[in-house]
Amino acid sequence: MDDPDFELVSKSRQGDRGAFGKLVSKYYEMIYAVSYGVLHNREAARDSAQDVFLKAYRDLAGFKGDSKFKTWLYRVAMNAAIDQARRLKPQISLDATDVSDEEGEAPVIIPDASAGPREEVSKGELRDLVRKAVQLLSPDHRAILVLREWQGLSYDEIAETLNIELGTVMSRIHYARKKLGEVLQKMGVNPREVMH
């Protein structure tokens, strides 16, 4: 497999911390972004991303080179972020309404926007609403969303990263987007309208 990081990984395996430092420098933003995409908390994302690099350096002997180093690092980061997200309790607002989950997971709770669609939503407010809506998704769906929408990974790459079937990738992406749209609508945001 043609891995652009092969040389730095080999040196790192021999204990060259400087070489691994170059890998950290190359992938820090990427790992922070995917951690943030799952956790949606700056401090938690920073801690998780940094733990990922420390763990990756320790466990480098376990990296057999079956996949690219970048893919392996994605996998370590996703597993760490998903585990941490599961440990954290979700914040639920008091004026919330239950909505059953189509994939049979625990029900998500969506703030009720009984006043109907909002006429005007400021950009800052919209961003807060999108973030809240994403946080209501399960960690697995947040993970798949950040890999697809933010990192732009192909379905195959996501399947390899998360070690799941291609069909599962497709169904989870579809579900995550659909659920996000529904949650936003419940919050009074019509994605089609605000983007025009």
Binding site: G18, V130, E149, R177, G181, P191, M195
Partner: protein
């Protein structure tokens, strides 16, 4: 399926772009790498060795008369010692002809130095015919760090 969800995707990307823009990742990254993955400095520049190395340099400078520690030795000891030795030799031929005041007579010859705690450094210099030998041990990193 992709087109249908385009507005949701755009909203998501916009939220992520703005959220990530607010974080100073460059500084965070620099500190993290400096703390955990900086290339090791050259041996003599390791922080744990700077104090003993500095003390060693200070002692060496001190003994090189930057800051004299003792009064200078008596002038022309060689001539006096030689004449005294000749006189002593004439008076008592069996006696040893070693001038008592010649500091070179007490010269220490260091052939081998070893230490379990670090790297020994030997400094030798003759100052005013007085041989000076300093043996300094730079502690090993693992011992300094308690590992």
């Amino acid at each position: 399926m992709e087109n249908e969800n385009q507005p949701v995707s755009k909203l998501y990307k916009e939220m992520m772009t703005r959220d990530l823009r607010e974080v100073d990742l460059a500084e965070e990254k620099r500190l993290f790498i400096a703390r955990h993955f900086e290339e090791a400095p050259a041996f003599v520049f390791r922080p744990e060795l700077l104090v003993p190395a500095g003390a060693f340099a200070f002692c060496a400078l001190l003994l090189m008369r930057v800051w004299p520690l003792s009064a200078p030795l008596p002038a022309a000891p060689e001539q006096t010692a030689r004449v005294a030795a000749e006189q002593a030799s004439a008076a008592a031929p069996a006696a040893e002809a070693v001038p008592a005041e010649d500091p070179m007579a007490h010269r220490v010859s260091v052939e081998r130095v070893s230490s379990d705690t670090g790297i020994p450094v030997v400094f030798q210099k003759t100052i005013d015919n007085s041989p000076v030998t300093i043996i300094w041990v730079i502690p090993r990193t693992d011992i300094v760090q308690g590992g």
